[in-house]
């Protein structure tokens, strides 16, 4: 078992942080890489990009949004309990180098994945501007982390309840209009990454996105995570998870992410009903 040593709820309980004991993975993991977690014997293999690691303590951290049965099951795991299986580190690490000015754009739980990359970009000597966004103030995560990881932080909320009223793309556009940017890193919901990439293409600024398609093994064996990048098939698990945002077919990715939506709904509803009946008891 891979023990949970720290657990925190954020975003009104819709987002959960787990620090997990996994010394071998912690020793090897680099920003941008992911692990696959499986809660128990009947559990599903869920890929999550690591938010941070601490090799000395032998821990890795993941931050996930509760969206379906498997993440709802993860949420029930308490400190001292753990995951039956954790596999990694998988995928290629982020290529971090000194480029000049880098804008890191994060939405939703994507901010968790963006955070170590932002920090890395800053440490590599870049001037780093961060933009993070959420639907509403209470759903924002890791604002303080992002503030310290960057030189300049812009916060946006869709409903205007905090920071700038509007989408991250609005804030990004203002920056692109004002100054020369060498790289944009965008990590968040697929539509966000799509529109950021669309925008930066107009400005001809290289853009890196991190994808999280459906996968099973995470080692290049199943091909379930294939994405069209520049018209060619790539496996997100071994060729990614990061790709050139200007080359990714986001519409196809969104459709592929819907592959099991019916099954997910059924499974999740059943689980929630069970949970409820336990609580009633």
């Amino acid at each position: 078992m891979f023990k949970i040593v720290k657990r925190e709820e954020m975003s009104q309980g819709t987002v959960v942080l787990n620090e997990i004991e996994a010394p071998l993975i912690a020793k090897k993991a680099k920003p941008g890489q992911f692990v696959i977690l499986k809660a128990n014997e009947t559990g599903e293999r869920i890929p999550l990009t690591m938010a941070y690691t601490d090799p000395e303590r032998g821990i890795i951290a993941v931050i996930y949004q509760v969206v379906g049965k498997s993440t709802a099951l993860f949420k029930t795991l308490k400190v001292g309990e753990g995951y039956q299986d954790v596999i990694g580190p998988l995928g290629k690490p982020t290529h971090v180098e000194k480029l000049g000015k880098v804008v890191c754009v994060g939405g939703g739980t994507g901010v968790a994945v963006l955070h170590p990359i932002t920090r890395g970009m800053k440490q590599a000597g870049n001037h780093v501007i961060a933009i993070i966004g959420a639907r509403t103030k209470d759903l924002l995560i890791l604002e303080d982390f992002m503030k310290s990881a960057s030189h300049e932080l812009h916060v946006c909320t869709d409903d205007g309840s905090y920071g700038r009223h509007g989408f991250v793309t609005h804030a990004l556009k203002d920056i692109l209009d004002k100054e020369k940017v060498d790289l944009v890193v965008a990590i968040g919901p697929v539509p966000m990454m799509k529109f950021v990439s669309k925008l930066t293409k107009e400005y001809n600024v290289h853009t890196m996105v991190s994808l999280n398609p459906i996968m099973v093994d995470g080692t290049g064996m199943c091909g379930g995570c294939r994405v069209s990048v520049g018209g060619k098939n790539q496996f997100a698990c071994v060729d990614g998870p990061e790709f050139d945002g200007h080359q990714v077919d986001f519409d196809e990715l969104m459709m592929r992410l819907q592959a099991y939506c019916e099954e997910e709904k059924m499974c999740h509803n059943e689980f929630c009903m069970l949970e409820e009946s336990w609580h009633k008891k």
């Binding site: 071998l24 993975i25 090897k28 499986k38 009947t42 559990g43 599903e44 293999r45 049965k69 498997s70 099951l73 039956q84 299986d85 954790v86 596999i87 990694g88 580190p89 998988l90 099973v216 093994d217 080692t219 290049g220 064996m221 199943c222 091909g223 379930g224 294939r226 994405v227 069209s228 098939n233 071994v238 196809e252 459709m255 592929r256 819907q258 592959a259 099991y260 099954e263 997910e264 059924m266 499974c267 059943e270």
Partner: protein, 473 residues
Amino acid sequence: MSVETTAKEKKQKKSRVQMPEQEPQVRARNFFEVPTGYTPEMAKEEASRCLQCKNPGCVEGCPVGVDIPGFIKLIHEADFTKSIRHIWTMNSLPAVCGRVCPQESQCEGKCILGKKGEPVAIGNLERFAADWERANGTGALPPKAPATGKRVAVVGAGPAGLTVAGDLIQKGHDVTVFEAFHKPGGVLLYGIPEFRLPKEIVAQEVNFLERLGVKVECNSVVGRTVTLDELFEQGYQAIFLGVGAGLPKFMNIPGENLVGILSANEYLTRANLMKAYLFPKVDTPIPRGKDVVVLGGGNVAMDSARTALRLGADRVRLVYRRSREEMPARAAEAHHAEQEGIEFFLLTNPVRYLGNEKGRLVGMECIKMELGEPDASGRRRPIAVKGSEFKLDCDLCIVAVGTGANPLLTSSTPDLKLNKWGYIDTESASGKTMKKGVWAGGDIVTGSATVILAMGAGRIAANSMHAYLMRGW
């Protein structure tokens, strides 16, 4: 006429004892094993057909050299306990081999009785001995050589790796198997369906090795979690790589990323390793197509098609570009599939997939093929017949057209020498790679082959590893 000839003729006249099977209509809708096994009486009866040849062809035909007449004689004498122990000396996975080996082209293909009639059912008897031990046996382990103090790492808990582990633990070495998945078994677990090889049997065979002292480390992606050089630093003195082929091939035709098109690797891994056929009792889903097309003509294609049927498909069609004769699947597998109602669309090749506005598969366009001159594989090359395009409706397509070399491990180990297809170059007589202290075998060397050939490669490597550990490279 001598007495001996009479005896021989008598044995030839006895017909082969058929193993009982579930009825096709019944089994096509469940995941239980298709053949249900011999009773002890049936096994003794079948064993009595063996001529106990002095120079047995069957043993020559076995990639791991099991003393076939020897174990069959013990079954005939009803000494099942001794029989299985006799098999174990040459084969650590008899319950698996008895089920999935292509006996017709190996041991049984060389059986003298097969020249005039039916060969001895060697596979069925091997399966019987292993199953009998599992159900009724003492569990007593075979003898083990005294500990040598040498440490061996085996990468990949599939048929090749498990064979190496079984051989080397019996020779007294300290063996650890590293497996990337969360459970050991490799293709026996994720690839071969429950109805051909119950997963409980795989678990038992692995458990047998663990009882012998083999350590199994799951969730270890060698190349990522730990590298080969780090394993050497940790004190392993010899490493065997049996990581399998494991890179799915696709058709590379338009529309292949529509929802509803899966590699056989993904489909079977969901069904077998993740047990998605029990969804929603387990959390991993699997698409349940009503109208399913499987592309390919090998055993994996047959397994996929039969799985789709068991998952509730109304219709399953197998599209293969050559004719029945060139089909690489075992005759028995193709026969089982047809019995269950799988339709074969031979000399047919898909041209493009058709989808709806939601990006879901609704059909495919195919073209008829005819056979031309033989190609490099010796099989006649299929050529498209112009103007013969037609449409097939389907809501699920499983692509089972083979696998390539998975570069995950090899790309992180630059000093391994690879061939142009990305498979590991080895010295065939020993399984030695170009990296000192490292051997390889199975699909990562040969490309997709069979369980028993991987086991044969494991045997060769294990012998060479043992020699190295005791005497040097």
